[in-house]
């Protein structure tokens, strides 16, 4: 469709005080030959809005609105899916942060308008990817998390398929005699309620339960997964929209802690064995079957020990307190000792802790276990009581080790791969945890990047702990319960509901052809100009979400519903063949090309700053709202993720005479804040390489800088700008200016 452009310049909020609006209009009408350029003192008001609406009715299909930030007044300047709107931020990025009626301020505004025009000329309104979508939700795992997810999704009106590999539902919770209190006054043990839960689930017509079933493979993408099941030898196939993985945990093997005597002494057992015994009835000594009259619980059997489980398992303190009551309930004269590192009973659980302390036979001590030995039918536990500063010893019938949680996605043995070294030598190396191949098989995904969801170093799925809980690095697959993080029943149920909602959002968004979090409004998706593809695999390797599969000839096969629209593949592509309708290598290059670069003797350097739209760009807006002034020689370009920055933009900028390039994104590393997990990490790796190239070309590597900030650090942005400009000043003008 032919572009019909309208340019609208707002004079409100101080813009006309700071800028020569008529001169600005001249940029559009004279330089860009736009016929229709209007200005209005108050564009977002009724009259101003009518002005634009009128033009659109008369055929304008592309509106360049030079007013406030694109993050403001989104509802006002929205003309439906067929009109492309380009926003030029004259308010937050020009009028509010630079001196009024200043030459440099005017030049900045004019450049921004040029850049907006360049973009508007090339960008198209996105058309959604549309496919027939199945909204059924697959829940993998029939423990408390899986069952809760299934019930929650069904209650919200969705069909659910629940797959459990054991012959019956329930998981760990079905093995409990009682659960610790979940209700006020948090003093007495409660029934687990599991039978009622299973009954409700089985009676729900929206839920189809497959017990004794395993997944053979999952093909496809959100909204159109094909799931192959094998149940009691028979194969079934399911059409699925999105997936909740609630595959639970296994207890850590305390046999690895030799000094605790597990496996050596019969009367040293785990909390799991204790629970089994309690559920069957009497708590007795495994060695002679006698009822116990004294028990010692040892907390942290490996937990919070860097050599074993570096993390807290969240439920074991409460479980030992609960099991202590089993013992005193069976024999009121029994003596129970709990030796702990720290008692961790958060929130209302504190009341239960207190209640168990009140029990006459229960004794607690903070200490380190020095040794466990057996003599005369009793187990002696020697503990250094840190609060007494001396050793104490107890002779007990039974020792219970509070075993911790290992995520079921943690592989028993780290998988290895045979690789060829650069010298041509074959070598077996361990697969890194952060890959889709480092996990215990559960989903059998037919993804190029591996069959399971990528995990973190402890085997938990890479599910951002603050910003994006439940999400994993596979769009449409959400983790819940102990597979995701160590947690107890109540927290698992919360998790389960959260993951179910995420799964529902996914199928709904997918049905609309929109992305899931964080670009939930986004209908664009990447298209590949395959004739020029060199099968380099950069896009298939670098997509954090495993969006691309591959055909036999190594051509990338996009699965648009797996895509989060970050553009990392676009940034990765050396052939620049990956584009979105409104975001492409060419669009940004055009923006770079229209920036006016003054002659070196004018001493007006130019710097391009690529700012991540997730944190850095909103932070820049906040700096604007707070009227924090900064250097006017910087031209900011918002990018979907720093990972979407293609290095050709660096080359384009430098060859044009731009003096420096700044990139500001989110934090990367173990506690990353990157909204697309790997984007800022990839950006810094790529830029590191670009810097090397620059040095080879005798260009100063200081001309490129990558910075990372969080959304709240808006005060830092002007500082970063000013410091970088100082650096550019000391490096001197880009020698390519004169070429």
């Amino acid at each position: 469709m032919a572009k019909k452009l309208g340019v609208y310049i707002c004079g409100g909020c101080g813009i006309s005080d700071a800028l020569d609006v008529d001169k600005l209009c001249g940029v559009a009408t004279k330089e860009f030959k736009v016929e229709n350029c209007k200005s209005h003192p108050f564009l977002c008001g009724e009259e101003g809005a009518k002005l634009i609406a009128q033009d659109i009715q008369e055929g304008t299909n592309t509106a360049v609105i030079a007013a406030c930030s694109p993050r403001a007044k989104m509802d006002v300047f929205n003309y439906g899916p067929s009109v492309y709107v380009e926003r030029v931020s004259l308010r937050e990025q020009v009028a509010w942060v630079h001196p009024p009626k200043d030459e440099d301020t005017q030049m900045l505004a004019e450049d921004y308008l040029r850049m907006g025009l360049a973009r508007a000329q090339k960008a198209e309104p996105p058309e959604p990817f549309s496919e027939t979508i199945d909204k059924t939700i697959l829940v993998v795992g029939g423990g408390i998390a899986g069952m809760t997810s299934a019930l929650e999704a069904a209650k919200a009106g969705y069909n659910v398929c629940l797959v459990e590999k054991e012959p019956s539902l329930g998981g760990w919770i079905a093995k409990l005699r009682k659960q610790y209190p979940k209700h006020p006054p948090y003093r007495e043990l409660e029934d687990t309620g599991i039978d009622a839960c299973i009954k409700e689930l089985e009676g729900n017509s929206k839920i189809k339960v497959f017990t004794g079933a395993e997944i053979e493979k999952i093909e496809g993408a959100p909204g159109m997964y094909n799931v192959s099941l094998r149940q009691k030898g028979a194969a079934t196939s399911l059409k699925i929209g999105s997936i909740v993985q609630a595959t639970g945990f296994k207890p850590y093997d305390p046999g690895k802690l030799e000094y605790l005597g597990y496996g050596k002494y019969k009367d040293v057992i785990t909390n799991v064995q204790m629970e089994e015994m309690a559920q069957k009835g009497k708590i007795t000594r495994p060695s002679d079957g006698q009822e116990v009259s004294s028990v010692a619980f040892i907390q942290c059997a490996g937990q919070r020990d860097p050599a074993h489980l570096a993390y807290c398992s969240a439920f074991c303190c409460m479980t030992s307190l609960k099991q202590a009551l089993y013992v005193t309930g069976q024999n009121p004269d029994a003596q129970v000792y709990i030796f702990y590192k720290d008692m961790r009973t958060p929130g209302q659980y504190e009341d239960f802790y207190k209640r168990v302390q009140e029990e006459p036979g229960v004794f607690l001590a903070k200490g380190d276990v020095k040794g466990i030995s057996e003599e005369g039918g009793k187990v002696t536990v020697e503990v250094y009581d840190v609060l007494l500063g001396e050793n104490i010893a107890v002779n007990v019938d039974l020792v219970v080790l509070a075993a911790g949680i290992v995520s079921n996605s943690m592989p028993e043995v780290a998988p290895k791969v045979e690789a060829v070294t650069p010298d041509g030598e074959k070598k077996v190396t361990e697969i890194v945890s952060d890959s889709g191949r480092y996990a215990t098989p559960a989903l059998h995904l037919q993804y190029r990047q591996g069959p399971e969801i990528p995990t973190l170093k402890y085997g938990f799925p890479d599910s951002h702990f603050i910003c994006f809980p439940y999400e994993t690095r596979r769009t449409g697959i959400y983790a819940a319960g102990c597979v995701r993080q160590p947690e107890d029943i109540a927290a698992s149920m919360d998790d389960a509901a959260g993951a179910a909602l995420k799964a529902i959002q996914c199928v709904e968004q997918t049905a609309r052809g929109q992305a899931v979090h964080p670009r939930t409004w986004d209908k664009s998706y990447p298209s590949l100009f395959m004739q020029r593809c060199t099968q380099c695999k950069r896009c298939t390797e670098e997509c954090p979400f495993g969006m691309y599969n591959e055909d036999d000839k190594f051509n990338p096969l996009p699965n648009p519903t797996r895509c989060r629209r970050c553009g990392i593949c676009m940034g990765s592509c050396p052939e620049r063949i990956i584009s979105f309708k409104d975001y492409s290598v060419d669009i940004i290059s055009s923006m770079l090309k229209v920036i006016q670069v003054p002659e070196p003797d004018e001493e007006k350097p130019r710097v391009v700053a690529f700012l991540c739209e997730n944190d850095a760009y909103p932070a820049l807006d906040m700096a604007g709202i707070n009227r924090i002034t900064y250097n006017p020689f910087i031209r900011v370009i918002p990018v979907r993720c720093l990972g979407s920055v293609n290095i050709v933009w660096i080359a384009d900028s430098l060859s044009k005479g731009i003096d420096g390039i700044l990139m500001i994104g989110c934090k990367h590393g173990d506690d990353y804040q990157c909204h697309f997990v790997k984007g800022s990490e990839l950006a810094s790796t790529r830029m590191g390489k670009v810097q090397e190239t620059l040095q080879r070309l005798v260009l100063e590597s200081e001309r490129i800088r990558v910075e990372e900030i969080s959304i709240s650090e808006f005060k830092k942005i002007p500082q970063i700008f000013d410091e970088f400009m100082e650096k550019i000043k000391s490096v001197g003008p880009n020698p390519y200016k004169e070429m």
């Binding site: 036979g361 004794f363 001590a365 050793n391």
Partner: protein, 382 residues
Amino acid sequence: MSPAVPDKETVDIIREMGGGTLKICYQCGTCTGTCPWNLVRTFLPRRMMHRAQLGLIDFGDKDIWTCATCGACAVRCPRGVEMIDVIRAMRKVIAEMGVAKVPDSLRVSVKNISYVGNPQGEPEKERGSWAQDLGVKPFAPGTELLYYTCCIPAFDAKVRRIARATVGILNKVGIDYGVLGAKERCCGESVRKSGNETIFQELAKGNIQAFAESGVKRVVVNSPHCYHTFKKEYPELGAEFEVIHLSQLLDQLIREGKLKFSKEIKKKVIYHDPCYLGRHNEIYDEPRRVLQAIPGVQLMEFQSSRKSSVCCGGGGGRVWMETPKEERFCDLRLKEAIDAGADVLAVACPYCMLMFDDSLLSIGKESTIEIKDISELVLEAL
């Protein structure tokens, strides 16, 4: 050293003796961080609680007798452990079961109380002699108010001034009151805190009976310790009389206009909250209002006052025990009052007076500051 073996029986005894809340201690150490002893020496209530929790109590440990029962730890304890009850239970095991030695001076004082009804060991019949020249009536049936004299003002030559000032005020105001003299005995509050439950019960029952026989309905006391036990412990043993602290009575009289001042006391007066009046019974405002009502008085506050007031060191039987000179936190309190520029340190408790008087002598600052009971100040201004 072979490791200690926790002993449930000992814990059970402490629980039976009234120290049951020790079970819920979770060892945060707020008590140790709060205890005033740590201003002058190391004293670890937290560790003491943990020892007791495991039944690993060393009954020969002198620190069992160290606690002044000031209650500063208990009001801050996040778990509601009644530390004083636990300490009292341990002392009870020693005093009543004879498992270890009771400090000599305490033993003598308690013995005196048990024999003659006062810690000083003075003849019982002399209990009323402090009032000989003051025209005080013996309490007779129908008398409105009993002035119960604590043993300290009754027998201690220096502290006697509290009792004399008290009746001076009562006489001037014209209240219908009387004293029981030899018929009353020590209230037993500190006797109980030092673990001597049996003697306490005898004392309490004796007093309850004496009060009942004389028809006592309302009692005014100087000592917050008497106040505490009369108010909180005697009723369980059958007492039916009402008790009021002198500061409350004075406050009431001032407000009713029955007590009018005619003189000015142009002095800076700093008020020390007695633990048993403040923390234990939450009477903070009445003594302050009384002092503020005296013309000319400029009332000052300690940095730590009211709920956070620092003990004089005299509670829990400590008043009868020797405290090494360098370990008296009472001295610190007095120095703070002097540094603050106060002319008078006002107290509302005979134990506090006794302790501060001692401190004043030992730090040699008699000319810098005076120690006065609020009754003395009120009488001066009448």
